[in-house]
């Protein structure tokens, strides 16, 4: 007989970790949306490329460096997206840029599939093996703990960046009044590159952290498995709120894990997705601007 503590703790532990990783991607989506009002559908592939970067670099480099390569791969993908696609289209309607980001994802996924020759699963190595501790008879792995810690560190870092640094303030300013930002002598192109680079790095970090939870990953998994969850998390949080994206990601992870653990998947397949949709509808009905959003 499982205790009440176990029933409650298990989805929280599992959901916290997977939701935190999704939250990282959601933050990237929010940063890009705040700065350029673009829904970035290439964000999922920043995750996949981060996973591939780590996987491939692990053959040649110590794992610690491979992790950095994974994050850097995501960052470079973000920078290239800004420089080669978003900036040349900056005077076009936002929907054109949105479609262009979809095209980027659709261009990257076949390249990944060619690399893997078929829908092959690649083993994903955790940063630290084994379990860290046990709570209500639920094992908490080091990987799960590291993901949550990463979310806390990234959250604190972003809070410091946006509130305490000139560059962070300039980034916020550019999302509020682009013309006035230019009149301060701030170059919007550089801010845009910074934002896309950060979004890419966050995606790359999620690509390093998330696959070990499922022990493997496959080509395009960032788009098929992570992107919709990240968009949902961002909308839950308010789409323009960075803390909201974190909260949205964690809430989404816990709801999904709760549904997975407590609903019989044979009788009711897809229960986690339905539960997330239900929570999304409830949040948007009660609070249309999302949990922490300020604008509709």
């Amino acid at each position: 007989m499982q205790g009440v503590g176990f029933v409650i703790a298990r989805p929280i532990v599992q959901g916290l970790a997977s939701g935190a990783a999704v939250g990282l991607v959601a933050v990237g989506l929010v940063l890009v949306y705040k700065s350029s009002r673009v829904f970035n559908f290439a964000a999922g592939e920043f995750v996949t490329l981060g996973a591939f970067g780590t996987y491939l670099a692990d053959f040649w480099l110590p794992f610690g460096l491979a992790v950095i390569v994974g994050i850097a791969t995501g960052a470079i993908a973000g920078l290239l997206t800004e420089r080669l696609v978003v900036r040349p289209l900056s005077s076009r309607p936002k929907v054109t840029i949105l479609v262009a980001t979809v095209a980027i994802a659709f261009a990257i996924i076949p390249i990944e599939i060619i690399r893997s020759s078929k829908t092959q699963a690649f083993p994903a190595r955790p940063i630290v093996h084994g379990n860290a501790f046990q709570i209500f008879r639920v094992f908490v792995s080091w990987q799960q703990l590291i993901i949550v810690l990463a979310l806390v560190v990234v959250g604190a870092g972003l809070a410091y960046f946006f509130n305490r640094t000139d560059l962070g303030l300039a980034t916020l300013a550019s999302s509020q009044e682009p013309t006035a930002t230019r009149l301060m002598g701030i170059r919007l192109n550089r801010i845009s590159m910074l934002v896309w680079g950060m979004a890419g790095a966050l995606g790359g970090l999620a690509g390093v952290l998330l696959p070990p939870l499922n022990l493997n990953f496959f080509a395009g998994f960032g788009t098929t498995d992570v992107l919709i969850a990240a968009f949902t998390a961002a909308v839950l949080g308010g789409m323009t709120s960075v803390p909201g994206a974190f909260v949205g990601g964690v809430l989404l992870g816990i709801v999904q894990a709760g549904a997975l653990a407590n609903v019989n998947s044979n009788k009711f397949p897809g229960a986690p997705s339905v539960a997330v949709l239900a929570v999304l509808v409830i949040v948007l009905v009660v609070r249309p601007t999302g949990l922490l959003g300020k604008e509709a």
Binding site: D166, L169, A170, L172, A173, Q176, E177, T179, A180, T181, R182, L183, M184, G185, I186, R187, K294
Partner: protein, 238 residues
């Protein structure tokens, strides 16, 4: 040579021409008022000087150097600051953060900036009282003060102020322009864009624009005192 020299300036939005090849001079250390009705091309003129618009023809020379078509970032570094129409403060940032961004291009000159910030607070005490308040929660007059204070933080040599009195009560507008006088007394050359002829009492020189052309260029006092001149150039607006 004048401090600011504009020659044959032509600017348009797409295929629609707005400035039809204008010429004017601005003297160093003076306040020049640019008057005209809606659509005359006043905002286009200052936006082009500040680098927001690129001219199709003509030259702008500031302190002996050609600046037309340059990026706003380069112009702010050279000492050109525009207080834009509609204030355009950063609503979700505090007053202190707005001012800090005003000094973006001069971040290395910390000591000088502290003195400038103190001068902004001296001119606009309400900004110091509310330095931690979000700009978006302030009244229109306070936001105008913030927009001017933010421009001061870039240590400008030429300050362009677009429609500062728009939406302000006459009393508040008078307060704002008396501060602009002080900024001018500090040695900053000022160009004020206005529709309200009352601003002429603050002007050394005046320019009147009509349909993208300069139709009057002369002393502010002459225009202010000359009823016929005002009626001729500004019509009902006078």
């Amino acid at each position: 040579m004048a401090y600011l020299e504009v020659r044959g300036l032509r600017v348009g939005y797409g295929a629609i021409p707005v400035l039809q090849g204008i010429d004017f001079d601005v003297e160093e250390g003076k306040t020049t008022v640019l008057l005209g009705l809606n659509g005359a091309g006043k905002t286009t003129t200052v936006a082009t000087i500040a680098g927001l618009l690129k001219p199709s023809a003509g030259t702008i020379t500031f302190d002996g150097q050609r600046i037309e078509g340059r990026d706003p970032a380069q112009l702010v570094e050279r000492g050109v600051a525009l207080v834009p129409e509609g204030r355009r403060t950063f609503p979700s940032l505090t007053i202190a953060q707005n001012l800090r961004l005003g000094s973006w291009t001069k971040r290395q000159r910390r000591q000088e900036l502290q003195a400038t910030e103190a001068r902004v607070y001296e001119y606009f005490p309400v900004l110091e009282e509310r330095r931690d308040q979000l700009a978006g929660t302030m009244s229109g007059g306070e936001q105008q003060m913030l927009a001017i204070g933010r421009a001061m933080m870039s240590l400008p040599r030429l300050m362009l102020i677009d429609e500062a009195s728009l939406g302000l009560s006459p009393r508040l507008a008078k307060t704002v322009f008396s501060i602009v006088d002080k900024i001018n007394d500090d040695g900053v050359t000022v160009i004020i864009v206005e529709q309200n002829v009352g601003v002429l009492r603050h002007a050394d020189n005046a320019l009147v624009m009509e349909k993208g052309a300069i139709v009057y260029q002369g002393s502010g006092e002459e225009l202010r005192k000359g009823d016929e001149l005002r009626k001729t150039y500004l019509g009902a607006a006078s």
